[in-house]
């Protein structure tokens, strides 16, 4: 018997799916008020990430698998060191109701089951994760550098910062103003475009999404290269092509000359034959 797990793939911010594939997935945006999250023990997984964008109420449940040997465990729910009272909606199931109205209510809630073995499961409640780019953003001198921040809920505002070595400086405070352009195609996305790049623009950039319950951040690393960098492998490949074509051409000329010589030899032999008969 399989116990159904309510997978909140959207809230836990899974892989950024293509626009094409997203249409064909079953509807995965759960409405904000209804939320029940379950972890089944001892099967696992023992951790669950839950994204909360705005104030809501969540029910967190730890369930014991009917086929397990653990009988009548002692259950405690804790957040950090604070114990929370729970209810039992069904046999072998223990639930707590969490009301999230400010950022201090976010965090990790753990249920501990004590019987013959000690088991625990944790629910991590946090603001929605921001999808940035883990690999460095490569751009060329004089070109435009683009950084895109995406998330699955609508933040109240987007902010961009640059790390100038000691502190984070807000982008709108940096001069010249027309060098940086912040665009938003939709509320859940923000783009920073840096025009006329120089080597000095390399470094760390942060995008911050302001949610009701707190900010979410993503980090970018920008590397500005000179145009000479990709030219080196390019010239190497072109040189290889030129060498191969020359070699093949020379081989063709050589083999044609050889065949011509052989052909002349045959011709001479054929001419000699009538003479020899005579």
């Amino acid at each position: 018997r399989l116990l159904l797990l309510l997978l909140c793939t959207s809230l836990s911010g899974g892989n950024p799916a293509d626009a094409a594939t997203q249409e064909f997935k079953p509807g995965n945006k759960l409405s904000v008020d209804l939320s029940e999250h379950v972890i089944v023990l001892p099967a696992g997984p023992f951790e669950k990430n839950i994204s909360v964008a705005s104030p809501t109420e969540v029910d967190l449940t730890c369930k014991l698998d009917e086929n397990s040997n653990l009988k009548n465990p002692q259950v405690t729910w804790k957040k950090g060191s604070e114990t929370i009272s729970h209810t039992s909606k069904a046999p072998n199931s223990w639930t707590i109701k969490v009301t999230i109205s400010e950022s201090s209510h976010l965090g990790s809630y753990t249920c501990f089951l004590k019987a013959e073995k000690e088991l625990s499961a944790t629910f991590h409640l946090h603001v929605p994760p921001i999808d940035g780019r883990e690999k460095p953003v490569i751009a060329y001198i004089g070109d435009t550098g683009v950084m895109v921040c995406k998330t699955e809920h609508h933040p109240r505002a987007w902010k961009w910062f640059m790390n100038n070595g000691t502190e984070l400086v807000s982008i709108d405070k940096i001069l010249p103003k027309d060098k940086y352009e912040i665009l938003s195609r939709s509320a859940s996305e923000s783009r920073l475009e840096i025009h006329r790049l120089t080597v000095a623009d390399s470094g760390e950039y942060w995008c911050e999404a302001d949610f009701v319950l707190g900010p979410g951040k993503a980090r970018f690393e920008v590397r500005v290269l000179s145009v000479a960098e990709p030219l080196k492998p390019f010239i190497a490949v072109v040189a290889e092509v030129a060498i191969l074509v020359t070699l093949i051409g020379l081989y063709e000329v050589y083999s044609k000359k050889r065949k011509a010589k052989e052909g002349e030899k045959e011709f001479d032999q054929i001419e000699q034959l009538p003479n020899s008969h005579i």
Partner: protein
């Protein structure tokens, strides 16, 4: 004097320099088909950089594919009239220029032109001439040679995909496109390898063709034909294969080729949406992202295996006479597996589907040039292949959007997959009926008229001599001898 006479081969060499040609064609397939597939890796970068959505970015891939297929006849025209080597080298330079120009792109429209049209045109100039060249060098081991040459697209994708990903991470998409442009320049190396070959069959037919030209002049043919054929007579001493452009496309009216063309239209219509919609379908039935990607990898790898093994298999003596039926069997099996697809709703069931579809997909791709050569003969293979690949273009363009529309309106993939399956089975059935009809016709006609009809056919179009000899296999030498006697009498 002997040095100016080019050595005429009695028949295709089936080896020797032929293997260099196969290597060249293998490289051409890597540089064209594999690079086309790897262009989709750039889409995420283009989307982020230009701020456009997926649909507009995906147009680039459609334009490249479309340009490669639509301009295929142009490629065979150039390689027939000028030289195969010049054609492929020109194509290589064009494609490379297109890629290098697109590394400087400032907008998506710029990319449509440089990466889409220019590169696609360059690829088109290389693809069909290279494949036709393989057919000229091989007879007994033709299918195996084609199998090895066509496996380039699968192996190339396998190797190039991670390499392109690495290049993008190191140099961003601009640098990666620049280096890819350099890589595509290797097409010029392939062009240099394509040593022209002149077969005795082709030269034998041409003097007769010449006589007919003289006859037609006196018979009041239209002026256009005369003006075209007179420079042709001057060119004749230099090039055996220099046919008049109208006569070059005579094979279009051959019933055998017309049936093949129609069946290819349906087959291309059936197979193209599958590669586009397999992953979304798998995701919709609950397969994870990694497993769906794995399905595509299986498809790719088994495609390569199908190319080479099926090529080797159909070269065996027992199967050689039945190559036509092997081709339609492969297409039919693909169609059948498409019909079963809506029933397969889990990952363990989709894996055997990937295996079957991938294997038979590789199988029929290998046999397309072989079956075309059997239908029109080797001298016209280049032009015929140009037309065959041209016929692939429209279904490739039309079929995925139609399938997408079906999915949107019916809400499930069943309708579109059933349509694909039936399309491919119809294509295979059409070929089967055509062959049966041919057999019935032959047994009904009395043998005498049959022979003279064949001879007349040979008179007008020397290419048929080759195709007839291919069918008769053992008796071809005697037949040719009889032929030359009949020619000298006239």
């Amino acid at each position: 004097m002997a040095s100016s006479r080019r050595t005429r081969h009695a028949g295709p060499p089936d080896g020797g320099w032929g293997w260099m040609i196969v290597a060249g064609c293998f490289l051409v397939t890597i540089c064209t088909r594999a690079v086309t597939r790897c262009i989709s890796i750039f889409f995420v970068e283009f989307q982020a950089y230009f701020g456009q959505d997926y649909a507009r970015t995906a147009w680039i891939h459609s334009i490249v594919d479309c340009a490669t297929m639509l301009c295929a006849p142009l490629g065979s025209l150039i390689s027939n009239h000028v030289s195969c080597q010049v054609g492929i080298m020109l194509g290589g330079l064009l494609a490379s220029t297109g890629l290098i120009l697109s590394s400087f792109a400032t907008s998506l429209e710029h990319l449509y032109l440089s990466l889409g049209v220019l590169t696609g045109l360059g690829f088109a100039l290389c693809y069909s001439p290279a494949i036709a060249m393989v057919g000229k060098y091989f007879n007994k081991r033709k299918a195996l040679a084609y199998g090895i040459a066509m496996s380039g697209s699968g192996i190339g994708t396998f190797i190039l995909a991670p390499v392109v990903q690495l290049l993008i991470e190191q140099f961003s998409w601009r640098g990666a496109l620049l280096i890819l442009g350099g890589f595509v320049l290797n097409l010029c190396v392939c062009g240099a390898l394509m040593r022209p070959i002149s077969l005795k069959e082709d030269c034998k037919a041409a003097p007769e063709l010449l006589e007919q030209n003289y006859v037609s002049e006196t018979e009041k043919q239209d002026l256009k034909r005369m003006s075209i054929s007179s420079p042709l007579i001057k060119l004749w001493p230099r090039e055996c294969l220099c046919y008049c452009s109208w006569k070059e496309y005579d094979f279009l009216l051959m019933p055998g080729f017309m049936v093949l063309a129609v069946s290819i239209l349906f087959m291309a219509y059936g197979c193209s949406p599958l590669f586009v919609y397999l992953v979304p379908y798998a995701l919709s039935v609950g397969v994870s992202h990694h497993q769906a990607a794995f399905l595509m990898s299986i498809l790719g790898v088994v495609d390569i295996i199908g190319n080479i093994t099926f090529g080797w298999l159909t070269d065996r003596r027992c199967l050689k006479k039945h190559r036509y039926f092997c081709y339609l069997f492969a297409v039919g099996m693909d169609g059948l597996s498409c019909l079963f697809l809506p029933v397969l709703q889990s990952f363990p069931l989709l894996v055997p589907f990937s295996f079957t579809f991938g294997y038979f997909d590789g199988a029929y791709v290998t046999l397309i040039p072989v079956v075309t050569a059997d239908a029109v003969g080797t001298p016209l293979l280049s032009s015929a292949l140009g037309v065959v690949y041209f016929l692939h273009a429209i279904p490739y363009l039309v079929s995925p959007p139609v399938a997408g529309w079906l999915v949107d309106t019916t809400g499930s993939y069943t309708a579109s997959f059933l349509l694909c399956g039936f399309s491919m089975i119809f294509s295979s059935a059409l070929l089967c009926f055509a062959r049966l009809a041919k057999k019935i016709k032959r047994t009904h006609l009395p043998s005498l008229t049959g022979n003279t009809a064949l001879k007349q056919h040979i008179w007008t179009n020397g290419a048929i001599a080759y195709s007839v000899t291919a069918e008769l296999d053992q008796r071809d030498v005697e037949f040719l001898a009889v032929d030359t006697n009949s020619f000298s009498k006239r």
